[in-house]
Symmetry: C2
């Protein structure tokens, strides 16, 4: 806890007694009260970008996060990037050289992924509602298609015959358990995702009968989970389910994508996931594999966990005003670029993201302010936070913004210009 206090004071974010605080990390160094991104002072980077607002992603931090994953996870585990988390082409190019595969969710993502060094056979195309055009392109590219329904399987058969290409397919399973404490549940009960576990053996046998290249199973049970026990439990149940499906279908599972769901701390009181404990449990599970999975390749697929903490959203204070005893910093950025930070993306109760004044970190004077954008009442980046005292022209930084930021936001709302994204 004293470490956390130390870091907060470093960030210039004073603690409020008896209230949960944001977890801080030292990923962005501070020099002369100014944070650095990619070894560049925020003020200089802002001049280089040439306009605010913008998103900046730190190349070294992405690399470092992938290294940590490699260190903590068993060697046997392959690491895939779910590019929906951040599809910026430069980011995908960088990550493609560091991971073992890429998960894509649309033809738009396929195009970006195919421009990297990643082999198409290491790409998986997941998601319900793929149209025939997307499926055809994926088959032609040699990408592994994650089958989400029995109808989709038949559609792939017809398209592949027309294209005269043997398709590579995996089956997404809707498990009969779900990841506890997950921010977004994707398994258990009736779902639009994947084939219900109880139907899967029939589907697997049909794939083999049809002569398709069967790549394996995808079993995703949730996302944004910070509880190590819940993830450990999901991993154990995922392996059990894969064994059961292999037995029931009498078909070997070449590859098992165990999903991801590793969370990052966004809100006050949240702590980082204990990655080492997740890795140790996985190693333990792999050490006592059932015979059915001894030849299987295991994949962990992560999006948010790889990029979120490497990114910041930067906007500029355009106005500072008091209204009936409250202070407002009005910025040129807001919910149209960063819907999640405004509290309008999947959250039930709005909480503040970690925010600071990026060019005034650790200065003596602080004040309680609300940081708002140019749109409507929903456009709130920080609700009455104690921040370094800011003036017009200062730079507001929203941390934890490398995933589900720009592309998950209503960029055209009120017809403001689209912000830049830079990888530094």
């Amino acid at each position: 806890m004293s470490l956390s206090i130390h870091l907060w004071s470093k960030w210039g974010l004073t603690m409020t007694n008896n209230r949960p605080k944001h977890f801080s990390s030292e990923q962005f160094p501070v020099q002369n009260h100014c944070i650095q991104i990619g070894d560049m002072l925020l003020t200089r980077l802002t001049q280089r970008v040439g306009s605010t607002p913008y998103f900046a992603y730190d190349r070294k931090l992405i690399t470092g996060r992938i290294k940590s994953l490699r260190q903590c996870l068993p060697n046997k585990i392959k690491l895939h990037y779910a590019m929906k988390a951040n599809p910026m082409p430069a980011v995908v190019q960088h990550i493609a050289g560091l991971v073992d595969g890429i998960d894509v969710a649309s033809l738009g993502e396929i195009k970006v992924a195919l421009d990297t060094v990643m082999l198409p056979s290491k790409m998986s195309f997941a998601g319900p509602g793929k149209n025939e055009h997307e499926l055809s392109c994926a088959i032609a590219a040699g990408i592994v298609i994650n089958i989400e329904s029995e109808l989709e399987l038949e559609r792939i058969v017809a398209l592949a015959e027309h294209l005269a290409i043997t398709p590579k397919v995996a089956v997404r399973i809707n498990p009969d358990f779900e990841l506890k404490s997950s921010g977004m549940r994707m398994g258990g009960g009736p779902k639009q995702f994947g084939i219900d576990a109880e139907r899967a053996p029939i589907v697997l046998r049909r794939i083999i009968e049809l002569g398709m290249i069967f790549e394996g199973l995808h079993i995703f049970s949730g996302s944004q989970n910070l509880k190590v026990e819940a993830i450990q439990d999901a991993h154990e149940k995922t392996l059990q389910l894969a064994v059961r499906l292999a037995r029931e279908s009498s078909i070997p599972i070449p590859s098992l994508n165990m999903g991801g769901g590793f969370g990052i701390p966004y809100f006050p009181g949240e702590l980082p996931l204990n990655l080492a404990a997740v890795g140790e449990n996985l190693q333990h599970l792999l050490n006592r594999l059932e015979p059915e999975l001894l030849e299987t390749q295991f994949v962990i697929e992560l999006g948010r966990y790889i990029v979120a903490e490497a990114g910041v959203y930067v906007c500029q204070v355009l106005d500072k005003k008091g209204s009936r005893g409250q202070l407002f910093l009005v910025t040129d950025g807001g919910m149209h670029h960063h819907l999640a930070a405004s509290g309008n993306f999947g959250q039930v109760i709005r909480k503040n993201y970690p925010v600071t004044v990026g060019n005034k970190v650790g200065i003596a004077e602080t004040e309680v302010v609300s940081v708002v954008g140019p749109l409507c009442t929903l456009d709130l980046l920080a609700d009455q936070m104690e921040l370094p005292k800011a003036e017009v022209g200062d730079l507001i930084v929203v941390f934890q913004s490398g995933a589900y930021g720009l592309t998950a936001s209503p960029m055209s709302f009120l017809s403001h210009p689209i912000p830049c994204e830079v990888l530094v």
Copy 2:
């Protein structure tokens, strides 16, 4: 109530006993079980557009809604369009010929508005956090700038001097009351919007001293309100506040923009606003105006109310699947195009928008289905609704989609193509 039942059965939407129902209207005629938009069958329109999903806005319905407003509101009231609700250029072009003014919120919106027949002097530029570039362009265009803070006033002075143009300004007031039962509160208490009512007289006198062209006041107190009493109350208080500010400042108010806030029924149990009662109350208030407002021009500014009910979102069923006893229609559309219908835009509890199968309205067979999109668990267009029995290829229609649809959605999420918008 019997009328409502009749209309629902017309839409092919069976009633569920003891549950609140969606209000229906007859704005889109039905022929051979297919709805018509702009006198065109939905199936034919879909062929014409050439791809799904798309948004379609009915030109006649927009015209009709503006006619109703003209009929119900006093002649003295000018009608402005808040183009943030739907900034599609063709829509703005159409509306510009029918209303008395346009409210813009960004340089992007200014550009679209300036391409219409509307005079710049009838445009008002509102919103906190306008940057210097936007302000300069607005001053040069001769648009009325709604001042949102004292700092913004001084900034306009400096820019106008530099441009050697006398700026036209109005003052947005943060009222000391708020619109009750409003979907989005924009007045009362500390706010980022406008000048606190108690500071306004000082600001008004400063504007006159500076020799700016003072156009009047904007007093907005909320939006999406369906309760006629609340709107009547807000109108009365708005006039009282304007009188008070005119007295306290001894400055006449050339124009008073009373805001809008007229709601439309989205969710089960909601009924349309009683527009006639709003108009009668306004007439009553105008009949007994205080002397300070006898020369004032009154404006009602509406966005959603003009366009929302004239628009539909159309997507196609790509897959139909059962999962553990529930039926899912997987479509090519979803929350990336229509965030509000997915329940992720300002709503606390998710409720269904009115949805139907647009080419099977009123068929005998119905079933309870969930309509989902290709993205994530949040991507839900209809949660277990009773709809006409649909198959792959059928067209899902989301009604009440003419406002805050496409531009208020995270269009680039998962990198799917941007959908078309058509005005028919």
